[in-house]
């Protein structure tokens, strides 16, 4: 028995799992309908796929949510997992699920997939026969993704960096890399049976003034960590940044460099997709303004040429959205995509050149780290601040880089910290901003820059 299979049997021997049948699950994946695979839909390249967010504790409520989504002409269904499951606390999730089932009140902020189990959940997934994307935020997702794939969920979001640095203060980063290696290997293994399982990185990170160079570097590194384990279909992503031209440039550079770096490790055969998140920062409390913002995001996603868009709702600032509001966003986004036509091609060669140079310089610094494996190189570079994510709560993050917006609301680096931004790029970034300011003014600018959409 392989070492991976031994580990899988330990993981699936968890007391919350009801007799995992490896052979039956393999047969299921092998013969699963192609419509369940998002990789199949990406391959058709018919349109930008629309995917909302959403998860409720009980089976019935999740089912009802999916009915609303399907009526609104959804392309990809989400399964958002509750926060107890994300922290591997399945017993609390179980208790809260029981309370949610007994009363009309939701005691969980998502679907406790491990407690529902794959035999039950698979019924829902095969009933709707749509591709489903697993949204969680779990540093140790080994058990969760096993149950997800066995349920017919063939897209797994996350990664060791993007699901840790924005969400956790002190979960050990080195452990996260190893837990995600397991995820990649299991996804790669199942990908040989039918259409490939798609992996997606979480580009928004903290959604707070993260410069595009950092976003892209982390997207590329999570992509490489995944492809080197044998994953054949991967989505890089980012969220709306606040300036249309910066989004267009970011989209183009991300696509080009993803292809380039995949080729560098001999993975030209992998399919790489681009995903765009509607605005992930602080949302307006006014619901009508929120709708306008969402619509603008859809237009920019089209300019970017994204393969998939992930939507927000008009209730974002208020709390967990109702199924009605959520479905409405899907319908609105589809409407906008249907009527948008004749989009111009916009190119800013100078910005592309500057951004590309920054990404290459950081990637080179990562590859030059003396560690023996890619994940250890990345680990060392996060620790030393070569990769620095603004506003990450994690203790390992360096927090030396400072970013603000220029007059066009592009995110600019005014203090590079330890990040190896080339001197000419750094000088350009700073030249876009008014730097005759003291720290007090800069702090006030940052506060303003975070709230631009409110």
């Amino acid at each position: 028995m392989s070492q991976l299979q031994e580990e899988r049997e330990i993981i699936l021997g968890n007391e919350n799992v009801d007799a995992f049948d490896f052979d039956e699950v393999r047969e299921f994946v092998k013969h699963a309908d192609e419509n369940l695979f998002i990789s199949h839909h990406f391959g058709k390249k018919e349109k930008m796929l629309v995917q909302p967010r959403g998860g409720f504790p009980t089976y019935d409520k999740q089912f009802a949510l999916y009915e609303f989504f399907v009526d609104a002409n959804v392309d990809v269904l989400p399964l958002t997992i509750d926060s107890n499951t994300r922290l591997n606390d399945y017993s609390t999730a179980k208790k809260m699920l029981r309370l949610s089932e007994a009363n009309e009140v939701d005691m969980l902020n998502g679907y406790p997939l491990v407690n529902h189990g794959y035999r039950t959940t698979r019924k829902m997934m095969t009933h709707f026969n749509h591709p489903v994307s697993l949204r969680h935020g779990t540093p140790d997702a080994r058990l969760l993704i096993e149950i997800a794939i066995a349920s017919g969920i063939f897209e797994i979001e996350g990664g060791p960096i993007t699901y840790l640095l924005p969400y956790s203060k002190n979960f050990p980063l080195d452990k996260a890399f190893l837990y995600w290696k397991y995820v990649e290997r299991v996804c790669a293994d199942y990908s040989t049976l039918n259409k490939p399982i798609n992996r997606e990185s979480f580009g928004p990170l903290t959604a707070t003034l993260v410069p595009p160079s950092i976003t892209i570097v982390i997207q590329l590194l999570e992509m490489l960590l995944s492809l080197e384990e044998g994953v054949k279909s991967f989505s890089v992503s980012f969220s709306q940044q606040g300036s249309m031209i910066q989004d267009i440039v970011t989209g183009k550079v991300t696509r080009e460099l993803a292809k380039y770096y995949a080729g560098q490790i001999g993975c030209e055969d992998a399919e790489i997709h681009l995903v765009y998140h509607q605005w992930m920062g602080a949302f307006p409390t006014n619901r009508d303004s929120a709708d306008q913002l969402i619509n603008m995001s859809t237009v920019i996603a089209s300019m970017v040429g994204a393969d998939k868009i992930i939507t927000k709702t008009r209730e974002e600032a208020v709390g967990i959205p109702t199924k009605e509001a959520n479905a409405q966003t899907v319908a609105n986004t589809q409407y906008t995509l249907n009527i948008l036509s004749g989009l111009p091609t916009i190119v800013d060669e100078h910005e592309e050149e500057m951004l590309t140079a920054q990404v290459h310089a950081i990637m080179e610094a990562v590859f030059n780290d003396p560690a023996d494996t890619l994940w250890r190189k990345v680990f060392n570079c996060i620790k030393s601040g070569i990769i620095d994510v603004p506003f990450s709560p994690h203790i390992i993050n360096h927090n030396k880089m400072i970013t603000i917006r220029d007059a066009q609301k592009n995110i600019r680096i005014i203090d590079r910290g330890n990040v190896p931004i080339p001197d000419n790029c750094y000088a350009y970034e700073k030249s876009c901003c008014d730097l005759d300011k003291d720290t007090k003014d800069i702090v006030n600018d940052i506060i303003h820059d975070i709230g631009i959409m409110q």
């Binding site: 969400y167 203060k169 002190n170 903290t206 707070t208 603004p390 506003f391 990450s392 709560p393 203790i395 927090n399 400072i402 003291d438 720290t439 007090k440 800069i442 702090v443 006030n444 940052i446 506060i447 975070i450």
Partner: protein, 137 residues
């Protein structure tokens, strides 16, 4: 002047904490930032370890109220913290409340300076004034 700061409790709101760090450094403090999700005991331990002059606790989700009740009894178990300047700021209550009620309540909990929904720089000016007076006295 040494200052220990951080966000109290199960509160992951990091933005203001980073800005506070930046502002305090610019004002010339030696900053020991414990970040988000910090428990009361960790604050006092850090104050002892660093020999801090000021402890600045912040809160956004409002759970500071619950923790603050334990400030006096816990602080009294440490021997060397009598001269520590105690400051708290942010959103200091769950739901709504006004500063006239909140400030005296927190002073009773053992804080010298209390800033409920006060602008960051205004709060740090208050701290500077307090330190000046304190030193003159």
């Amino acid at each position: 002047m040494k200052i220990v700061t951080g966000v109290i409790g199960n509160d992951i709101h990091v933005v203001a904490n980073r800005l506070m760090d930046l502002s305090l450094n610019a004002r010339g403090y030696e900053v020991f930032n414990l970040g988000v999700n910090t428990y009361l005991e960790e604050f006092f331990d850090a104050a002892v370890e660093t020999g801090a002059d000021v402890l600045l606790i912040s809160s956004l989700n409002g759970e500071a109220e619950g923790w603050s009740r334990e400030v006096k009894p816990l602080k009294s178990t440490y021997k060397s913290l009598d001269k520590l300047i105690m400051m708290i700021g942010g959103n200091l209550t769950v739901g709504s409340g006004n500063a006239e009620d909140i400030v005296p309540r927190y002073k009773k909990y053992g804080f010298d300076l209390v800033c409920h929904q006060v602008d960051l720089n205004t709060g740090l000016d208050m701290l500077e004034d307090y330190i000046k007076e304190h030193r003159a006295a």
